[in-house]
């Protein structure tokens, strides 16, 4: 095969271009620290990089969400623990006040303390964090609990077939009891022999003889009824039913929040509840127990005070359980966070391994290329000396 000088120069030029390309790519790898920078350089590797970065972003978002959930639950736990302290004091007070040695005057003095404790309990339950109510569920713009004034409620009488009882009204409802009462007369229809509540529990201590006109009847739960009798007995013993509703105990506490939880998104497939909701039975029992205790003190009712010891104890246990539940959720979150932190570290290592340049290999390749380049330059220079022209005189 004939070889022309043009061929030799062309081959050397192609070689130089190739080596220059290696040098340029090597420089890019060294300066960027990565094997490639664009999808054009490594299509599938680039896609894997995007996938890893996507996963990293998900983990970062998850860790951020976990931090928010942990903060909310930790702050909630702190306030629940404050409420537990209030409860402990209320329990101690109840035990003290249940003693027969305590006078009525001393019990009246204790009312002041229990009022303060109730206020402290409500304040803790209505705490906000970052301007959002902790215990009102998704209704973060609303206070979680509202203390109510007393309301006797409304009473509606449904007359039965015995027309001798023309009307029944509620005249007093000091304990704000909501119930439905069935009134039964004797066989002659001249006296009330039974008034049972919705649970069929007898509320009448003794039969009440009816006089024409209004008759006052006091039930075992202190609800007072006014029964209007026509004076004309009717043999049918079932007089009718009176339903009391909407009665609210003085100082009772109502949940004002939402039934929706506040969800925090760790990742699209993992959502966790980041709050304790005020309509949890533990809150209801706690407020009811302390309101009942106060009512018992106001009434100087030692029996009720003794009963409050048990209800306060039970409600306190409920609050402790709720606090423990939040603690357990925080523990679970801690485990999840550890997992996510490990995932974060894993993805960082994986990304570095995947994208990172093998500097030793690149430098070696560039050194080899440099030697080839130098040899090519030398050869180009030498070629001009090898022409016959140099030997013709």
């Amino acid at each position: 095969m004939r070889i022309t000088s043009a061929q030799l120069y062309n081959n050397l030029l192609a070689g130089v271009q190739q080596q220059m390309d290696i040098q340029a790519k090597g420089d890019a790898k060294i300066t960027s620290g990565t094997r490639y920078q664009t999808p054009a350089e490594a299509a599938l590797d680039y896609r894997t990089s995007l996938d890893i970065r996507h996963a990293q972003r998900g983990v970062d978002g998850g860790l951020e969400a976990l931090a928010i959930a942990e903060s909310r639950l930790s702050v909630s736990q702190n306030h629940l623990m404050s409420m537990n302290n209030v409860f402990s004091r209320a329990q101690s007070l109840a035990i003290q006040q249940s003693s027969a040695q305590v006078s009525a005057t001393e019990r009246q003095a204790a009312i002041s303390e229990i009022t303060h404790l109730t206020t402290a309990l409500i304040n803790s339950a209505n705490q906000q964090w970052q301007g959002q109510s902790l215990f009102s569920g998704a209704a973060v713009d609303k206070v979680a609990f509202i203390a109510n004034p007393f309301s006797a409620g409304t009473a509606v009488y449904a007359a039965g077939s015995n027309g001798s009882i023309t009307n029944v009204t509620q005249t007093a409802n000091p304990a704000a009891v909501n119930d439905a009462y069935t009134i039964t007369l004797d066989g002659t229809g001249t006296s009330i022999i039974s008034i049972t509540n919705g649970a069929s529990v007898e509320q009448l201590a003794a039969p009440v003889a009816l006089a024409t006109g209004a008759n006052s009847v006091t039930l075992n739960n202190n609800v007072q009824l006014s029964v209007t009798y026509s004076g004309t007995p009717v043999a049918d013993p079932v007089a009718g039913t009176i339903t009391v509703s909407g009665a609210i105990q003085d100082g009772s506490v109502t949940y004002n929040g939402s039934s929706q939880d506040r969800l925090v998104n760790i990742d699209p497939a993992l959502q966790i509840v980041s709050n304790a909701r005020g309509d949890d039975p533990a809150f209801t029992a706690a407020f009811q127990a302390i309101v009942d205790f106060k009512a018992a003190l106001v009434a100087n009712d030692t029996g009720a005070i003794s009963a409050s010891v048990a209800s306060l104890n039970s409600a306190g246990n409920g609050m402790i359980d709720l606090t423990a539940d939040i603690g357990a959720r925080l523990d679970a979150l801690s485990i999840t966070r550890t997992t996510y932190e490990e995932m974060k570290a894993h993805f960082e290592i994986r990304l570095n391994t995947h994208e990172g340049v093998d500097l030793a290999a690149v430098v070696t390749e560039m050194k080899l290329s440099e030697i080839s380049l130098q040899a090519s330059y030398s050869q180009i220079s030498r070629l001009s000396n090898l022409s016959l022209i140099n030997f013709l005189r």
Partner: protein, 581 residues
Amino acid sequence: MIFPSLSIASSSLQAQQSAIDVVAHNIANANTPGYSRQSAELATLSPEKIQNLTFGRGVELQSVQRIVDPIINDAMVVNSSQTAYWNSLNDGLNAVENVFGSLSSTGLASALDEFFLSWQQMSNNPQDSGQKFNVQAKTTTVINNIVTMSSQLSNAQASADTKINDNLAAANLLLTNIASLNGQITRQENVAQGGTASANDLRDQRDTAIRELAKIVPLQVVNSGENGVLVQSSNGDLLVQDNVARQLGRGPVGANGFGSIIIADTGAELSGTLTNGSIGGLLELRDTKLNNYLTQIDSIAANMIFAVNQIHANGNPGAGLTSITSQEAGNATIPLNDPLQAAPFATQIQDGSFKIHTYDAAGIATPPGGSVINITAATSTMTSLAASINTHPDLAAAGLTATVAANGQLTIAAAAGTTFALSDDSSNVLAAYEINNFFHGSNAGTIALSANIQASATNINTGRAVSATSEIQVGDSNTALAILALQNQSITVDGTTSASLHDRTTLISSTYGTDVTISTQQLQYRTAEAYSLNSQREAVSGVSIDDELVTMIKFQRAYEASAKVITTSNTMLDSLLGLIR
């Protein structure tokens, strides 16, 4: 008898001189592209017979031959087309590299991750208006990325089309040149037309022009009977016959928005597809590769727009709405899902219903659970939808009104002091007509934030009215959570293969990367083939200075020897004439 030797020597002087001229021409054109070395073919003059002896009469330059290998030349024509195809495709693909980002700035993929991260952050704090502004900002970034990618790729398509015009102009010049060279070669070589010698240099020029033309349009070259060549496109369209060239041009704009390539004098489109040549590469770039990326980006935009709107339309921003107007207009009297409707997603509407929850001034639901508005895809119109709302007893009692504007836009408005919310749309009518929407538009060219959200980020919906109770809470994040779930959820609204938005985005990058890799590999292969063919051509047709110098010395020596013959003959003549003196 001395004179014949003078005559012979004289013929030699002429022949050697001419041969050295050929060598000089070779050396002069050693670096001329497309030049084929020439060889002086010497031959003895016809001998002279004297008595029974035959005497030679000297030498003559019989011809000057061009040294070529037609097989290599043909292979170079094919290779020129293939190399130019991959070169123009590779150049075009590399020119749009920045569209697809790099590891230091991953473009759409990163913007999409940030978009969903902002929804995640907002879902954790839906009551925080700062998070809504963050979602608005991150959405704007995604939209900008999509719009920029789309416009850059469209510009690249237009640029490729302009290059096709440039290539056609260059091809037309070459076609004219080849036809002209055909004529010149015929005149020079055709004895019947008075031609006397082979037109070596003209043939080289024609070969070069054909190779240059093949770089633009793939060719078939057939030698014609009269020293000319017949040039056809690879699909058989006649481009040059003898000294007649047919020019190429652009036809009327087709469905793809670009003019076809035609034979100018007939207006007929070039047959088949140009699978080689720079024009073939540019067509592949413009109509297949870039179009494919644009289609994929459009698909990402369409799926994101409709899927997000489907969820967003059923949500609320943590409070009731006072008034809302559909952002898509339409014909109010034809069915909502009629393909003639201007709303791009109208055909997505199906039989179903949605709920309107109304709230009094105190925020109390009236009634709880909302009012159901039924949609029958084939018969419901915008007018009938408004009538359904206006005649619903609960909605009428709440003072809610629905009106349809002349352009078909629906407006739902609550009575003063009251509010309403939308939910549970199983018919897609809310998303299709962009009622309570997040995005506006239907593809990468038209995607935008909805007018409401552009007006204020606080209009971004975070929660969802509880279907049974109508409850709305500022801390409800159900809408945000549902939109976040789209991140890795396979979706399709446009008939494409169902895939997540992330997968769709990374697929574009990897498709582009694979296209570049393939074109680079093919270009390297064809370039190596071109090197090899050039090398083979150089071996046969290239000028070797050393060879030429040796040849020159050889002819020079012969010339010197012939001159010596003349000198000797002259001396002999002098001696002879001296005898006379």
